[in-house]
Each structure stands twice: as structure tokens, then as C-alpha cells.
Assembly symmetry: C2
Homo-oligomer: 382 residues x 2
Amino acid sequence: MTVFTLQFDRQIFLGEYWQQQPLLIRGGFADFADPIEAELLAGLAMEEGVDARIIQHHNHQWDVLHGPFADYESFGEANWTLLVQAVNEWFPEVQQLLSAFRFLPDWRLDDVMVSFATDGGGVGAHLDQYDVFIIQGAGRRHWRVGERMSGLTEHCPHPDLKQLQDADFPAVIDTVLEPGDVLYIPAGCPHHGIALEPSLNYSVGFRAPNSAEFLAQIADQLLASDTVYPRYQDPALDSKQAPFFVNPQEVAAVQQLLQQQLASEQGQQAILQVMSQAKRPLPQPDQAIDEQQLLQFAATDMLIGRSPGARILLDTNNQLYAQGERLGYCPDSPARDALLAIWDECPLAECDVLLADQQLRRWTCELLNLGVFYLVQELDED
Amino acid sequence: MTVFTLQFDRQIFLGEYWQQQPLLIRGGFADFADPIEAELLAGLAMEEGVDARIIQHHNHQWDVLHGPFADYESFGEANWTLLVQAVNEWFPEVQQLLSAFRFLPDWRLDDVMVSFATDGGGVGAHLDQYDVFIIQGAGRRHWRVGERMSGLTEHCPHPDLKQLQDADFPAVIDTVLEPGDVLYIPAGCPHHGIALEPSLNYSVGFRAPNSAEFLAQIADQLLASDTVYPRYQDPALDSKQAPFFVNPQEVAAVQQLLQQQLASEQGQQAILQVMSQAKRPLPQPDQAIDEQQLLQFAATDMLIGRSPGARILLDTNNQLYAQGERLGYCPDSPARDALLAIWDECPLAECDVLLADQQLRRWTCELLNLGVFYLVQELDED
Ligand SMILES: O=C(O)CCC(=O)C(=O)O
Ligand SMILES: O=C(O)CCC(=O)C(=O)O
Ligand SMILES: [Co+2]
Ligand SMILES: [Co+2]
């Protein structure tokens, strides 16, 4: 497989650009080789269960069609684009692209959307809620990107499409992307891409839950445990207060109860549990694996890999988390390093340091049974 | 209807007993008249959708049976008790009992459980998570109540019954309750009642959500609104940090996002919305009512009442809440007083101050349509 490495200064990027301002990384990927071809992408968008859209325009009229698509004949030669979500879940070569972005926290990494646009194709000028890196594959697109600014108004030329009212926002980047060029666009920055020829773009997206989503997910984690949680207690009550009146001390008592819960060790663990959860359900193994079977597989040519979207996290107390579960205390060791290093498929037989450690062997089984890891037969390369 | 008034010093109670220590209020209800008869209770427990249990014991063996019950013959003359939840939702006379407890905040008030016990009947020594007032109706029971203490161990003599391992806990109250006597038992205080003869007890319970339940309900309220919530943002990231590592600054950034959400005006509103929600779904009106119909009904002998379990709350900014909805700004006025006063059924025709105010008339319709209020034809008393 290709190793993708993003060539730029991480430290300057993290200090000055990440979540702050857009950046053009010209030639970010040297000799960039597309991890998927347009024909394969079009084929994927014909499958049930794949989230695919076609956006086309015609005399300032916009149309959005949802997949799966039967064929592409009717769309013609120009002014449309096919967008497919989470392509990394279907193509290991696309998943591979994500390795280049592991200078950012794993739990923030979301998925890879791939778009194939014909001449003049694009989604129009718009804003996103997420940070994104857009990698130019085959072909060329003209991109304009502005800084985060106030006064931009959005409208929907089609119920499924939100665009900026004015595509003429002031741009700090206005350029034609060539294969291997990378754009970084922070959440909330206006951007607009138009294909100059049939072309592929790869969008590496980062998730950032909002406060309400995060609260709901944390509450779910807390409720799933059988811990006895502290209950609301009244502040000093006034015998003359009307029963329907809720005074500020009562509201403050609720806030304090909740804030203490979030700040508690359990609250912190629930936060890590939420961070470690994949956005979509992970593919489940056909049957549970035990330690003995694992060791038997290690004597074969079986490969082990990490499922796209799965996260394995470690907190400052060396607690290990994956897929919403707290596995337990896992101090630094070569076996731990081996476990955390599993990302691309690699021969299980080479995981001897990992498999020699009883606790980590157990967790490897647990992670396989959760769908965080998967086992697969090595394919002959030809 | 009977007006129930609890005779005791509220101020001393709130300052020294509420949520702190048990209290015996001898003769709390003077000339107490049972709002329901044992036969009616037994009949109610024969209905689908009523939460009823029978707990019986025999040579230190405990059994729990769940309703609806077909008959009571098989249970014999002694050593069993019938417990029915939320009897106030079925009998307005029992709902009436709750008026006596409106010296406490309405949102804390839960429901009335009624138990009928035969000679020797009881549920065994136990702890509860909730504060409760137990009113002695017909008959007598021997009650022992202890202070909150550590070292009490619980066990389950039956999967559906949790008791204290040791029924001999040190008691601060050890007495025989006579009709009209009231026991107050704070959450977590051991208590044990044994019927000396066929007898009725009324348990007025108070709810106190735990931190995880409260968080989940607040999150639901926030998610139900179409507000754009702030998203997680990374603290300064270290380019040398491993991608799987979550550092304390990241956890703190999540905590801060959530704590700001809870402290925000929207967070405070969500807290009131949760407080104002009934535990069980409210009975829905057959059809929506509009202002014109409401005024027409006011010319008839229709009664208006508040559904058991429904709450109408007012915060310190005069925002009015009911059944999870924020109705809006409602400054002090005679019409507001009239709205908030609706608890027991009263003739709609007498609500002229309320109905003369356009905004409050609208809200009255909204509350009727939410099931917070209901309309009912006056019954001839005979
Ligand atoms: O691929 C495209 O045309 C749109 C990409 C984009 O706007 C994004 O990833 O945010
Ligand atoms: O009515 C009974 O026998 C039990 C009442 C009780 O324990 C309670 O209400 O907490
Ligand atoms: Co975009
Ligand atoms: Co109890």
C-alpha cells in the first residue's frame, strides 16, 4: 500500500492555522497517486447503504439527487458532481489516506468524502460546521476560500443544498489545485470549488460534537453503567414561597449537581468513552474469538486491521478506551505500543510482542469482538 | 371535596427535618377521612395499566406478585399487603391529598402510593431513594424509622424486593400510627411498617432525579430545539503528542463546553423545562380546543382541572413553563394568579379574570391541548 505523508510544518500549522485560518499546502502530497478511480467511485455509488449524492446545476438552477444511482448517462458531460460519504469504510486504500492526518487527535478524525466532478461541477459557495482538508486528486479545480467572517447569509436553492447567498465572498486563497495540492478549511470559512475538467477531490473531515450532542452522549454512557448517582437535593426552602415558583437557588442546585457529575472521575471517564465511540456501528465479527483461537490464527497468514472509524484512546491515567468501553489500566509497555500501532492491516504473526502479554492478548480479543479490530485472510497480490 | 390540611409548623419542618431527619407528626390530619376505601383500591388493582403489587410473607419467605389481580381469596387473612402506585391519577379524592403538600415545590411532588395491608402485612425493613410522607388511614400500623446511617446492608429475599439484611436498625421513631398520623421519612432512612389490623397507608412521594437522569433529560430538551449550539474546539495542540492520547486539556475543553451550556440561559431554561415535565404521559384531549370554543364552554357548567402529575412553573424571570414547554413571559397579574391557582376542579365560568386576558386565554388553550388542564362536565352530587 501507498504511504501517504503530508509535507508541511506541523508545528506552524497547529499553532497558526488549525481551527483558525485557511491554508493552501501546495504539493502537500508529493507524487500523489489517487487511492480510488472515478469508475470505482461511480460503482460504489450504485450500491445500497452507501451515502451518495449528485449535485448538478443548469442556468443557476440547482438539483440534488440521492443514490444509489443506476447509471450516469442522463447527467451529461458537464456541471455535475458526485459526492460519496465515508469512502474510507469501503476502500482500504482510501482509509490509508487518513494515516497522514494522525498528527491530529484520533478522536477528532471523522471520514473521507470523495467527489468526482465533471467540467464546471461543484456544490456552490458554502460554509461547513467541520474542519476539512481537501486533497486534489486527478484533474484540476478552481478553489476560492475566505476567512471566517460575519455577515454571510445562507440560502437553499434546493431543499437539500445550503449555499451562500453571495458567491463573491472576499477570498484569501484563490487558486487552481493540481494533483497532490491540499487545502485546509477551518469550520465556518466560506469556500467554493469549480472543476476545470473531470476531477477527484478527497475531503478528510473532522468531527466536533456540539454541546447538546456531547451532553446526550455522556448521559447515555452514565446511564448505561449501574453506578448509584447522587440525587438532587433541595437548597434551604422558604416556607412562604409559592409552590409553582422555582427560585435561582434551586436552578443553581441542579447546575451544581450536574457540574460535579461532569467533573467527577466518572464524568471524565464518560467523556473518554464518548470520544472513543465510532460514529457509525462497527462491522461485527461473525463469531466471538477467544485467546486460544487468537493464538492459533497467529500461526497462519491472517492479517489484523483496525476498522475504519474505530478509535482506541488512552487517557492521562493510562486508562484504555475503545468503542465506548473503558478497557482498564494499561501502563506503558512494548505490548501496549504494539496494540496502539495496529492501524493498517498487518500480519497477526508479526504481533508477537502483543500476543505474549496475557492482559493485552485479552484486550485484543475484546477489541476483535467489539469490531474495533478485524481479522482477514491475506490476499495474493496480483 | 375534603380539604386536607397538614397541621404542623412548616418553618421548623423545612429548617430542621426536610431531607435531614425523620419526623412523626401525630394527628397531622385532624379527623382524617380516607379518600379511598380498601375495596375500591382492590378493584383498581384489577385493572390493566395500573401498577399494583402484592407482597406476602410466610415463615421468613417473601413473595411478590404483580397485578392486575383477578381476586384476593388465595392470599388469606394475614401477612400480605397490596401496593398501588399513582392512585392519585385514578381518584380525584386521592389527588386532593396532594394539596396539603404544596408547601414544598410542585416540581418535586411525585405521586401517591396507597397500600392496604392485612394483619402482619408489610414490605419489610428497607431504604428508599425518595423522600416520603406516610399518612395512616383506616386501621393501625406499627412503624419503626431510623436516622440515615452507614453500615446498613441490603439484600433481596425475592428478585423484586430489596430489604435491609437486619430489620433491627436503631430507631428514632417506634410507634403505632393511628388514623391521621403522619410520618416523614427522608431518602435513605431505614423504615419498617407492620400492620396490626387491616389498614390503609398513603405514601406521598417526592422525586429527585439523579445526576445522570437529569443530564439525559436536559440534553433531550436542548436537542429538541433548533438552536445552533457551540461546538467543541481544540485547546492548543502539541505536534509531538501521540494521536491516541487524550490530554487533560482536551477533557477540560469538553467540560468547559458543557458547563457553559448548562450555565447559559438556554441551559437554565432546559432545567425548568425538565422540572415542568410530568413523569408519565398526560392524558390527551380528544380534540384540540381554540379560544372561541373555550369561551363558549365558559358559558356552560364545565369544570376545569389540572391533570394529576402536571406541573406549571414560573422562574425568576417570570417565564412560564409546563409539560416541558416554555410558554413565555408572564408577568404578575390577577389573570396569572387565576391560571396558577387551577389545581382542583373548579367551574370554568368562575375563571372570568383568566379568560378576560387574551394572552392567558391562549395559554389556557395550549395547556388544555397539552393535557396539563382538562375539561369535564360537572357531575350531580348525590
Ligand atoms: O468536493 C467538493 O466539491 C466539495 C468539498 C467540500 O466543500 C468540503 O469537503 O467541505
Ligand atoms: O405502605 C407500605 O407498607 C410501605 C410504604 C413505604 O415504605 C414507603 O412509602 O416508602
Ligand atoms: Co465544504
Ligand atoms: Co419505603
